[in-house]
């Protein structure tokens, strides 16, 4: 299934790549469908935010490891919960990687950001719909390092064993530092704005409103 050129971990064959994409997309769909609290309005809002963050990631791709996705995912987890946060992470990763390059590493990036969403959901970053900026900034900065570790795992395989992991982590530390500092800057400047975009507004979901079905009369 794998063909190695020994540069970026195993390279997926077209079939394997398709399989990975199907698995990731399926996981995101299941996570979204399982969340019974989500209204359609919130669903549309979430998908719009996915598109915005994916575009941001592509636009900032030239800056070494400055990742707006991490902050967005952390806040998505904090505001929407773990399931929707994880789905958000998977979808942003897949969408942005269609431009930046899809491959074996997509799985690890999606896993890394999904883990950050879970952390966000449990880190009590929001109080009374207000972002605890200091705490959120601290988490955003620190989480860059475990994310770097998870993505480094994508380089294992294709002749690179776990014995090479310390060297890979060492080599990636300057990039992790850049990721952390970028997260701090993005959180401090756009964290509150992102949260406003993510928090549900008081727009009733028509189909979820009691009595709507009975008002519809098919003649």
């Amino acid at each position: 299934m794998f063909a190695s050129v020994g540069v970026h971990g195993p390279v997926l064959s077209p079939t394997a790549a398709l399989l990975f994409d199907v698995v990731l997309l399926g996981a995101a769909t299941v996570l979204l469908l399982q969340d019974k609290r989500m209204t359609r309005h919130q669903g549309v809002l979430l998908l719009s935010f996915v598109a915005v963050v994916a575009v941001l990631r592509v636009l900032m791709a030239n800056l070494p490891n400055v990742q707006p996705v991490t902050v967005a995912v952390l806040l998505a987890g904090a505001s929407l919960g773990a399931r929707r946060g994880m789905a958000f992470a998977i979808l942003v990763t897949m969408l942005s990687n269609t431009v930046l390059g899809d491959g074996y590493w997509t799985l690890f990036q999606a896993a890394g950001w999904a883990a950050i969403a879970v952390v966000g959901s449990r880190a009590r970053l929001i109080e009374d719909d207000r972002l605890l900026l200091g705490r959120a900034t601290l988490f955003a900065g620190l989480l860059a390092f475990p994310f770097g570790l998870i993505t480094n795992l994508s380089l294992i395989g294709g002749g690179t064993g776990f014995a090479h992991l310390p060297a890979l982590v060492w080599a990636g530390l300057p990039f992790d530092l850049s990721h952390a500092l970028g997260n701090v800057v993005i959180m401090l400047w756009t964290g509150a704005l992102m949260l406003r975009m993510l928090l549900p507004v008081d727009v009733p979901d028509a189909m979820a409103t009691p009595g709507v079905e009975s008002d519809v009369h098919l003649v």
Partner: protein, 552 residues
Amino acid sequence: MRNTFVIALLAVTLLPFASASMTVPGGYVSTAPLVVDDAVLIRSSATFDGTSPPMLRAYGENGTVRWAIEGPSTTQPDMAEVLLVPAGQAPCGAWPEHLIIAWSSGLLEARTPDEGVPLWQANTPVQGWGITASPVATDDGLLVTTRTGVELRCFADGTVVHAADTGLGWRNPATLVNGTVHVGDESGQLWSWVPGEAPTSIDLGGAIRHAPVLLNDGLLVHVQTQATSRVEWLPLGENGLPQPASAAHTLASGGSPGMPVALHTLSAAIGDASGVQMLNWTAEGWEKTRLSTSSVQGPLRLEQGRLTASANGPNGGFLGFALDGTTAALTYTADLKGYGTAPPVRCGDAWLLVKDEGKVVLDPEEGGLSCPLTVKPAPVEVEPPVDKTPIVWTLALMTAFLAGSAAAYRRGPLHGLRWGTPFLLVALIALMPALIGWWAEQSPEVQGETPWDDAWPEAWRDGQVVAFELPNGTLAVGGFEPRPTVLEATVAAANELGVSLATEDHALGQWVTAVDGVTGDGWIYEVDGTRPTVGPEAMALPSSSVLVWRLA
């Protein structure tokens, strides 16, 4: 008497250090060596029995091979001179200093002069053979006479800018005069071509096997006929095209002519089986001076005011003439004789002499101690380029400190962080390239341990060793001439071991996909225990290293 004895003793003591000789293995050496910085480049053709491929070797101190590249095997000799192109730029791109190597297989390639690493490669038409003419560097681009025509290529990437079909040629370089290219062919046509337009030709009969020589606003052509030859001079018209040959300047000469060279605006030297002549152009005709009766069938060379050539015959030596108004022949002290066409080449303060059979001698006319073949190169102090990155990150750090301090003072530490961190990020991004390099050097595990099998001969230690870890055992070979890249060393080792090799083109260049028919999940390589992150085609291989290929 005593002084004379001391001087003689000193000369006898120093002579072995000043002179050097060696033999280039493989087929004939038909082209002059090229001296590049601290190396001497010598190319050899394939042997007729196919036992040795065409090669280009870079020799350093004491004749050690710095790197060697192998050309595609053909039965035709490689007779195109290697060309050194200085760095430059044109609308089609910029290029570093590089070598242009043309092969009789039709392959044309550019490589770095220091390590021989390929920069670009291109294929040219083959009809029986490919390129036998020396490429020419011009202001308009790289002028290449192919087997079937002439091309103007970009130095940066080898792309064809203009091309034209002419007649079939052999050892027929082109000459560019005021934007018009002139080139002869095997049927005696003298072609003229303005790049981008259709070529025209004049029939001179015979065969033209040299670059037309610009002389007194005309072209001198030494046409080879059945058993003799004929010198023609064709004035160039206002349109840049050659006019019919001047009858007064048509001169019958000996057979098998060499390649003439212009000496001054009105004089040239020609060589053929009857010897070497100097021709001075006058309105009435040629004023001839015979310089030698030794047969010269290769290029005549003008270097440092001296006309040189190789005498081609069983007892042929080398010819050298000072061009200071006299025609006194220089004498070479080296006793190197035999068939040959490559003229002597200046190497430091000595002359490099080479004959067909690959015998190379450094003739220490005035000492010979400064030729790369005999001396250690002096370390060159290169001034580092000015890097403005530190200025950027220093300014960014200062701004971060000021902005953060001001904001922290006015509205608290979080605001200080908010205003300070963007500038810190800018500083980090500006610093990143230097930081990555510095960080990598600090890594305790960057350099892997060089693998060494005690069963391998100790003689391999100073050279390149290539090992293939196959499922049924490891095959290894060493002690071959060092190759510049991993891929070339791999191919050489596979040939030596009789192992088949399959390669595939990837975005990162060629990649080895099968060794001895084994594909597995792909093949990876390590150099001295470390896995490089570039493809084998682009990876320079140190002249002393262990390259291991194993299944992924």
